[in-house]
């Protein structure tokens, strides 16, 4: 048996081999509340986990940012923490989500860099002490489907109510629609998956219009 | 009664004679003409012979009838117990019961014989597996079967044990209805998976809390494997066919002493470790910890 290499060595080796899934391919859309059943029905037909039925989730997501005291725009690190409210024993999830890249018109999906990992429940205290501030938080409830490597979530977004201590109560939905997201986490350069996603999104039309959404433009709309 | 029997015998005899003579009728008919009938009038001779035999049969039949008429019919139906059902299956081959009945009869007979012998010998040697003595002169308690008991009894026993030791938590599952498998967690030290057969402890395996709770794979830690071995020994030791619930209770009492498995030192050598193991043996009476080698 050889002696174990240091973890940093193996990580850099993994980066070199490009096996770390650090790119998220993403399409987003929404469906009105009264049609969500139709969509779920269709997804059940299209996706892999047919027999077990859709997986439901009830997650609380906290969005942190790490920034310096000086108003320097380049020094901002967004971090997201997600925990399952319905499965208290499950590990929490920590996630870094980078800038949204739309690419040119030929590119079927938006791409953003993403580092996704499970973590222990001390994460919120850890991040707070690290210097992160909670930017906003919300609750997402809905269903998750799988189709090959693709993940489809249909979720209702709730605003945290006045009683922050009881995340399960007093929440209000922020719109009359369900958010629909189609995403794949893959190592960089695997653009073929984007094509698969486009074809899948095509199959959900006209119920849901899944498209890449320009965040920069969104910031100005209102 | 005597007369009844005699008449029964006579009737049975008459039937026997009748059967044998009927047999000879068929024999005669089947043989047909024989050489000893000669050449002349052989048909006549054969006819005469047959007539003779038939007359005998007729006489016999009459005998049977008189004998049967003499019999007094039994006052009521016989109570045959389970054997009455034998009549419902008519073919002898398919029953194959007789041999088994004989065997089991012999078997129980032998057991009876041997156990009386063994009982005598053991009584003279005064070696008792439990530290209780049962005086044979006392009227014996009604025998409790220990492998075929209603589930509630076992349930009561288990909840009783659960209440007895605050630091033992018990989870029971019942893969086969009357025979529960319980998982007894002893504080934060270890857990034991105990399978019952009725009120008897059938199997014990000791593991760490982090290990899987299945009944067959043994622990990956030497210390728990050793404790498992000792539990098997204790399980046999405490076994008492007459007082099964007491056996389980005393076993659990002994088992409970393992909550000091890691923290107590050996009573004899005063050390914690011997060949890298803590004292894994607990004295059956005093519950004091000893190393395997020190006991």
């Amino acid at each position: 048996m050889t002696s174990p290499g240091s973890a940093v060595d193996s990580l850099s080796a993994a980066i070199k081999c490009n096996i770390i899934p650090n790119q998220e391919y993403l399409l987003q859309g929404s469906v009105l509340d009264q049609y969500v059943e139709v969509l779920l029905h269709r997804l059940r037909g299209l996706c892999d986990n047919v027999d077990s039925g859709p997986e439901s989730f009830n997650d609380h997501e906290l969005c942190f940012t790490l920034r310096g005291n000086t108003p320097n725009s380049s020094m901002v690190l967004p971090l997201r923490v997600r925990r399952a409210l319905d499965v208290p024993d499950a590990p929490w999830q920590l996630r870094y989500v980078g800038q949204h890249e739309l690419g040119d018109k030929n590119r079927p999906t938006a791409v953003r860099s993403s580092i996704d990992m499970a973590c222990s429940s001390t994460i919120v205290e850890f991040l707070t002490e690290l210097g992160c501030r909670v930017d906003f938080e919300y609750i997402a409830r809905g269903y998750m489907f799988r189709k090959g490597r693709m993940k489809i979530t249909v979720s209702k977004i709730f605003k945290m109510g006045s009683m922050a201590s009881k995340p399960n109560e007093s929440v209000e939905p922020i719109s009359q629609s369900y958010l629909v997201e189609l995403s794949v986490l893959a190592p960089s350069g695997q653009d073929a998956i984007a094509e698969d996603m486009r074809i899948f999104a095509e199959q959900l039309k006209p119920l849901v219009q899944l498209e890449k959404i320009d965040y920069k433009r969104l910031a100005h709309i209102q | 009664m005597e007369r009844d029997l005699d008449q029964l015998y006579t009737a049975l005899n008459a039937i026997k004679v009748l059967r044998s003579n009927v047999g000879s009728v068929f024999e005669t008919v089947s043989n047909g003409l024989r050489a000893d009938h000669g050449e002349e009038g052989k048909e006549n001779k054969f006819m005469l012979e047959l007539q003779d035999v038939l007359t005998t049969v007729n006489n016999n039949l009459r005998d049977v009838e008189t004998a049967a008429a003499n019999l007094t019919p039994p006052p009521g139906p016989f109570n045959l117990g389970n054997t009455a059902y034998l009549s419902q299956e008519t073919t002898q081959e398919r029953q194959a019961l007789y041999g088994q009945l004989v065997n089991s009869y012999k078997w129980t007979d032998k057991i009876r014989e041997y156990s009386t012998l063994a009982g005598n010998i053991l009584a003279t040697n005064s070696f008792n597996k439990t530290y209780k003595t049962f005086s044979t002169t006392k009227r014996r308690k009604t025998q409790t079967s220990n492998h075929n008991v209603p589930p509630e009894v076992i349930e009561n026993l288990i909840t009783g044990i659960d209440r007895l030791f605050p630091d033992v938590t018990i989870n029971a599952t019942r893969p086969f209805v009357p025979n529960p498998v319980i998982q007894a967690s002893l504080g934060r030290v270890l857990k034991a998976i105990i399978a019952f057969k009725g009120l008897m402890i059938e199997w014990v395996i000791v593991k760490a809390h982090s290990e899987s709770s299945d009944l067959w794979t043994e622990s990956r830690y030497k210390v728990f494997r050793k404790v498992t071995e000792n539990c098997h020994a204790a399980m046999c030791h405490f076994y008492s066919p007459t007082m099964p619930d007491l056996a389980v209770r005393s076993f659990m009492h002994w088992f409970h002493s393992y909550n000091t498995l890691f923290s107590c030192s050996c009573k004899r050598c005063g050390n914690h470790l011997h060949s890298n193991l803590p004292p894994t043996w607990r004295d059956l009476r005093t519950l004091e910890p000893y190393h395997e080698e020190c006991k």
Partner: protein
């Protein structure tokens, strides 16, 4: 098929007519042959390639056949085409002998041109039994009383119009449905999409400062976090809180999470 052994009965036609007929027949024969080959190829496919045959190819074949049928019927109804109805097919020679040429022409389907087969193949009228039935019916109709007939016609019309109504209604419904399906905006709204994406991605509408209900702000440390990642121009002074107050507001932060941490640590990962 009426493709061989055709004798033209009408010799009164002019040579031009004959030529026209010739070419029309050639065209018909060609169409019919095409049709035959595509039908046989389809049968072959169904019989031999039924395992690999995909539904689209099957439909393609079917479309081909129906196209050929259409073109054949177009050809027959064309002005240039002589009225074949006026022509007669007349068998000149019947023989019970096997005719190899005929067998070859018909691909072994008809081997003899005998009297028992010819009536079937060259028939232009109904079968005699059917014809007599027809006659009977016609006779019956002729003898029917006028009022009776009128009554029956009225009843029949009623039934037909009823069915017509049902079909019409169904068609209307179907059209409404399909037109509804055609419009995408009914199932999702772009505004909602943008609202949701902006909320999840940038926290638009979720940040506590934006909350009109100001009571919610107590117990939240999100005053500091009010600057979105895309809006660096936010008030910088807020994050310069003195260190002494910072942990305080932070401790007050989502107290739900604090309690959750505690309860989570009690659950030992290697516990029983």
């Amino acid at each position: 098929m009426i493709d061989v052994l055709v004798t033209l009965g009408n010799t009164m036609q002019q040579a031009r007519d004959e030529k026209q007929l010739e070419s029309a027949l050639d065209a018909i024969i060609q169409r019919v042959n095409d049709l035959k080959t595509s039908i046989s190829s389809m049968i072959y496919k169904i019989e031999n390639e039924y395992e690999t045959l995909s539904w689209p190819t099957f439909l393609d074949n079917f479309a081909l056949i129906s196209g050929q049928l259409t073109s054949l019927s177009k050809l027959l109804s064309h002005d240039k085409c002589p009225t074949l109805r006026n022509l007669t097919v007349l068998p000149l020679l019947l023989s019970p002998e096997r005719d190899d040429q005929l067998a070859q022409l018909t691909e072994g389907r008809v081997t003899t041109f005998a009297h028992d087969l010819v009536p079937d193949y060259l028939r232009t009228k109904l079968e005699p039994s059917a014809e007599s039935k027809m006659l009977n019916l016609e006779h019956k109709a002729a003898t029917l009383a006028y009022e009776n007939a009128q009554k029956q016609v009225a009843a029949y019309q009623k039934v037909v119009s009823h069915v017509w109504d049902i079909v019409n209604k169904a068609r209307e419904e179907w059209e409404v449905e399909s037109s509804a399906r055609g419009s995408t905006q009914q199932n999702s709204s772009v505004a909602d999409t943008h609202l949701l994406v902006a909320a999840v991605g940038m926290g638009k509408g979720l940040k506590m400062v934006n909350n009109p209900n100001n009571q919610t702000n107590q117990g939240n440390s999100m005053i500091v976090g009010s600057q979105g990642p895309g809006r660096p121009s936010g008030p910088p002074g807020q994050s310069n809180l003195p260190p002494s107050t910072q942990p305080m507001t932070m401790n007050k932060a989502p107290s739900a999470i604090k309690t959750n941490i505690k309860s989570a640590t009690q659950i030992h990962p290697y516990g029983r």
